[in-house]
Point group: C2
Chain length 360, copies 2
């Protein structure tokens, strides 16, 4: 087992070589760490800025052994890493953070919501759905329309669909792949907020100012931070983040998506046990961004400052949006972040831009 805190020169392994891995890798390098990436796809965004890139499936035993041998600690950029991979790494004596408990509760939407409820955190009302036959009764209890999502996997609106009435239960269940699912009541929210928080190996917790998010087609378009929220909302978000971090015995950065209701209550929509798109504003809005914060946490370093040094509007650049790079580069208050992806498929996350303003 590694001794924490890891000194500079140690190697941090990352499962997943996308843009989150890339930005984690660059933050790690800034702190003097080497980075090894395990990623099934070749020439990944993260692999191209890392000292070692292992191109293999996440459950490839040899690849995991090579990663374990190369790294002092391993983390991941997305929550759908097979639990078996983490078990294999643990078998090689490799510390993985966040730990298996965080993954167990966030890889399954029903387990996640049960965990939240058990820890005194409000969510939308929900029902576990094992087959299309479960839907009509659940819809009766939750009210129509309700949102059917696969229990596992799915992101950015994939693997989910609305059920408007019991008559379409079979069709919608088939549409999401006829897999174990969750049916969620429609949240009558006034806006979508999020909070990015971190917990260190010593239990220290750090919480960034909240972001206000706008989605379109299930995909994040913009985050405005710090969100203009009453103190009581901010305090409640900090409390929610703290309960989740403690409850999961968490080490690293975690993103929590929230619905703000008309009466000011906050419901948790989703937990992401990783750096999160709604935290990209911290790169140009904070001295220590979410990527460095995650590296600090998993390496056993003290957490960094989370205060906003300016206001930021983060805009995701999806697909052809990234063709606007020249125009954005000429804006006086914009910082452009591109992910090095070649193929600008419609809707694909190609980069983002942080537009900064003085704090209100």
């Amino acid at each position: 087992m590694a001794d924490f805190p890891l000194p500079p020169g140690s190697t941090i392994g990352i499962l997943g070589g996308g843009q989150l891995g890339r930005m984690l890798a660059m933050a790690a390098a800034r702190l003097g760490f080497d980075v090894a990436i395990l990623e099934p796809g070749p020439v990944s965004p993260a692999g191209r800025v890392s000292s070692l890139e292992i191109c293999a499936d996440y459950d490839d035993e040899d690849a995991l052994e090579q990663l374990a041998a190369s790294c002092d600690v391993v983390t991941f950029e997305f929550e759908n890493v097979p639990a078996a991979a983490l078990k294999t790494l643990a078998g090689f004596g490799t510390e993985v953070a966040p730990g298996p408990k965080a993954l167990a509760f966030t890889q399954d939407r029903v387990e996640e919501k049960r965990f939240l409820v058990a820890h005194g955190v409000d969510t939308v009302a929900f029902e576990a759905i094992d087959s299309a036959e479960d839907i009509p009764a659940a819809l009766e209890r939750l009210g129509a329309p309700a949102l059917l999502k696969t229990r596992r996997e799915g992101y950015d609106g994939k693997g989910q669909a609305w059920v408007k009435d019991a008559g379409e239960a079979a069709a919608v269940f088939a549409a999401i792949g006829a897999k174990p699912a969750i049916l969620e009541a429609r949240a009558d929210f006034v806006r979508e907020l999020s909070v990015i928080a971190a917990r260190g190996r010593d239990g220290q917790v750090a919480v960034y100012p909240m972001g206000e998010n706008r989605h379109a087609g299930g995909v994040l378009r913009t985050t405005t931070a710090p969100a203009a929220v009453p103190d009581i909302t901010r305090d409640r978000a900090i409390e929610i983040a703290g309960r989740i971090l403690e409850g999961l015995d968490y080490v690293g950065v975690l993103g929590v998506e929230l619905f703000e209701l008309a009466d000011g209550r906050l419901l948790v929509n989703e937990i992401a046990p990783r750096v999160h798109n709604t935290g990209h504003w911290t790169q140009d809005g904070c001295l220590c961004d979410q990527f460095e914060q995650h590296v600090r946490a998993v390496a056993g370093w003290p957490l960094g400052p989370t205060e906003a040094r300016c206001a930021v509007e983060m805009e995701n650049l999806l697909g052809a949006d990234a063709e606007r790079w020249a125009e954005i580069a000429a804006e006086p208050n914009a910082v452009l972040h591109l992910y090095g992806k070649g193929d600008a498929r419609p809707g694909r996350k190609m980069g983002h831009v942080n537009r900064v303003k003085p704090l209100r």
Copy 2:
């Protein structure tokens, strides 16, 4: 020849794999570029964050051909790249920026000062020294003590020594390696300042606020920026930077070290045709730091904003200084930058820390 501006996804080559190359590579990656490093030493700081690392001497023809074939433009992290290497790259049709004119005038301290004088920029008084016999007469004209430096190479105080009287001419000439040299009058300066400036492919010039520098043993210890200077000093520095950039037909970032005299005059001490240690404060003090600025310039992009968003004190971490990483990481207003170097030899630049404060 490449078409400018280079779109994201293009590859930028860097001659030199040290910390400046590393920070350039990370800035390039942030803008969606790939990076190829040519560096004689293995596992270099820059190579470990780049998609291609070519380990070979700078004059290795095969290596230069590989670099040329991989890159859309090539730049360098230090000015002592052999001119022949740039000629070889040009022979392969590869655009190199800054261009050969900038290198020709900055690789030779006598040529550099003649260039400055010819462009109406003040320097300390100097004499070219070809042999120890030239020293007594030069010392007579310049006044003793005077500083003897090799015309070529030498950095961070290496290859230079004071001559206190004519009697030690032979010994001091031998001490710097008995090479063609320059003898410089002692500047009676009140402080050392510097200015970091950039010029784009379209001739656009951008100048950062000035830094005030403290050296010890010929090596930079701290930069405080923006330096508290009268408007007339700032305007004069901008004018100096502009004359140099225009005169060298420059593309990229350039650092100018200045002596401020008691009467407010500025003398140029040295030009560095590259990103410069006294510009590291821009990483946390500006939206577009000197590394991104250099990448923008060589890629033919518009230059980025240079205003200071906060005050910064940059401290170099030399040798064992870097062992203070844990302490620095716990400071609330410090941003740590480490270079991934294993061997903390005394005086070796291992990293730096930017401590930020609100602007005065």
